[in-house]
Amino acid sequence: MQTLFDKIWAKHVVAQEEDETLLYVDRCLIHEGSRHTFDTLHEEGLSVAHPDKVFAFSDHYIPTDPQIRAQGVAGIADPEIRNMVQLLIRNTDDYKISRFGWGDDRQGILHVAGPELGLSQPGIVLVGADSHTSTHGAFGNLSFGIGASETTHVVATQTIWQRRPATLRIKIDGPLGFGVTAKDIILAVIAKIGIGGAIGYAIEYAGSAVTRMTMSERMTICNMSIEAGAKAGMIGPDDSTYEFLANRAFAPKGRAWDEALKYWRTLPSEAEAHLVDVRQLWAGK
């Protein structure tokens, strides 16, 4: 009996050394703050192993004011902020990495634009240079944030060393009470288990309240997992997940979609799968 986490983990193991596992990485998301990664690549003379598996979003330093945006990158008054935006453009050009930045309709916050583009798919390992990368786990995958030196390792090798986290299933049942949102639910979970309550765990959210949630609500739940110290947050994929992904830019198409769907349907945790810890909450309260 296997959990969603067990299945994804097993499929990505490249090597094992003592208590650390070398995991294959399907997608790596970066942003303007990832500049040190490129400095290190340059200094060490390394190349990007799979530029088609690295996706850059201009979202941490790009101005939100439409009037400033209309002036182009040169319109950013602060030279240090302008430099951050320019560095991402130059580095992604140099290393031939896809960039969703200035003037691109697909540009957005990497944890929103990633799902909108269909990059966040079930069963994958996705890492991002941002602590809230757990958001993508809403689509039934293993997603977590990594630091600058880890990002260098990932883009140079398409792998990452990890200690296997334990799994914690949090079951949230019942209809949401009047005025209760996904944010309230996850805040209630964190209040219950504490801000360090999920350290060392990958959380899987389950239960009828979660099953009824839209993908946006599920993303809110998974996004906040790290505020309880969790390595990752994830939700088993279902028809809502597949409907959201269908026909998105990076989603598989045609026969590849049919094959992907067949595989995705094998991913959800088996009912009796052993989880280290199971906790239950009632959504109405």
Binding site: E44, G45, L46, E80
Partner: protein, 68 residues
């Protein structure tokens, strides 16, 4: 690529629980261009007093500083 074997430097123990590693480079300095200013950023908010003088707490207690 040179294998990482030994790093020699000055060690400054911070004897406290739940160390906040964001203090190594407080977030507002993340956009500072690489260069000489980096030396002033390291542990900035723990090192300097409000008048800009260097705090005596971290780097000046010689008995806590272990030189290689």
């Amino acid at each position: 690529m040179q294998p990482f074997v030994t790093l020699s430097g000055v060690a400054v123990p911070l004897d406290e629980a739940n160390l906040d590693t964001n203090q190594l480079c407080p977030t507002r300095f993340n956009k500072v261009p690489k260069g000489p200013r980096f030396a002033q950023i390291l542990l900035h908010d723990r090192r300097f007093n409000s008048d800009g003088s260097e705090s005596q707490i971290i780097f000046s207690i010689r008995s806590h500083v272990v030189t290689p």
